[in-house]
Amino acid sequence: MKKKLWPFLYRLHRYMGLLSALVLIMLAVTGIALNHTEDLKLDSHKINSNAILDWYGIPSPQNLKSFATLDHWLTQVNQNIYFDKAMLIKTEENLLGSVETDEFIVAALSNSLLLLSVEGELIEQTPLNNIKRIGLNSKKAVVIIAGEEQLSSNDGLLSWHSDNNKAVTWSKNTILPESIKKTIQSHFRSSILPLERVLLDIHSGRFFGMIGVIIVDISGIFVIILSLSGLAIWLRRKLIVLKRS
């Protein structure tokens, strides 16, 4: 019995080591990377591989809300606001409309205004409570309804005046051109999944579903057995050497 135990232990140690090596390497690599999440910017690096996004079941967004200015489109998809095809800002507010004057583009969010250059560069985000609508009056001044009051500004949002003018062209929802829509959908989809999430899922085995979790669990048990069998083998060899000497 004793003669059979040690060869068995040697074989067990060898094959368990071989079987768990791949998983251990994967755990080590992902573990080291996750230990340096901030340095490696794993949380800000987003996955854009369609295969991985499909694997996670992340769909293309369909709920796009767009407003046209003279030559441009402001679009909101969840928390992202886009100027034409380019990402502008992230916000928790709702996009309510956009207008274009001779010098600026102004987009209204529910509690702030975005002042943009005509090239789409953000000049300033001005907080303003309870905005309901945005439009242009006949003199091309920006008009908003904030709370119960109608206000207008013709100096790049630096000052506001009470405005009773009824002739206002209010900004309305617009259907986005298909090419811009596709680019935004693709950008949004690839801005959701951080690399950190994928590495965490690979590390825990969840990336491969329940089977992955079970394999990682079994590898964990193998590591415990490997440690104990390795210790036993080492002690036995040490004792043999001591006896011989």
Binding site: E124, E149, S162
Partner: protein, 167 residues
Amino acid sequence: MLKNILLITLLSLSSSLYAEEYQNAEEFLSQTFANSVPKPKVLWLKKDLKKVAAQILQHNPGFLRTRYWKTAEKSVWILNELGKTKPITVAVIIKDNKIELLKVLAFRESRGWEVKHDFFTDQFKQNSLNEELRLSSAIDGISGATLSVRALTKVAQLALFFNSQVQ
């Protein structure tokens, strides 16, 4: 009427952006200027200014103009800077080119909120900007709030730099 609208709209840097605010901008300004808040002024970030601002922030500022409130004695700057993922709103009062007070008006992150306390922000008092655009005194960090500390330090540097441009 116009004055009231201006006061409401321009000075009420609203609660919406400051969903988790400790003090709103309007209250802070009223308190700072003893209810006689000056009309806000605007500093445009032209090419050179934008370059220096980017150097201080270590990223593009993301805006082209900023408002400030100034009297003969002091200036007040209310700026936002990202902590880890969300902006921290910070007010800085500058007098004689030194920080008189730095206060966190809104903190939206889940970690690092310790930077809002006076024991931390008091370190910024009397700091000025040296030739390398760094603060004249080192700021002690807080374990677990590294990014928030870094954000507040950048805001302090930026406010001092902006202030030097409007003297």
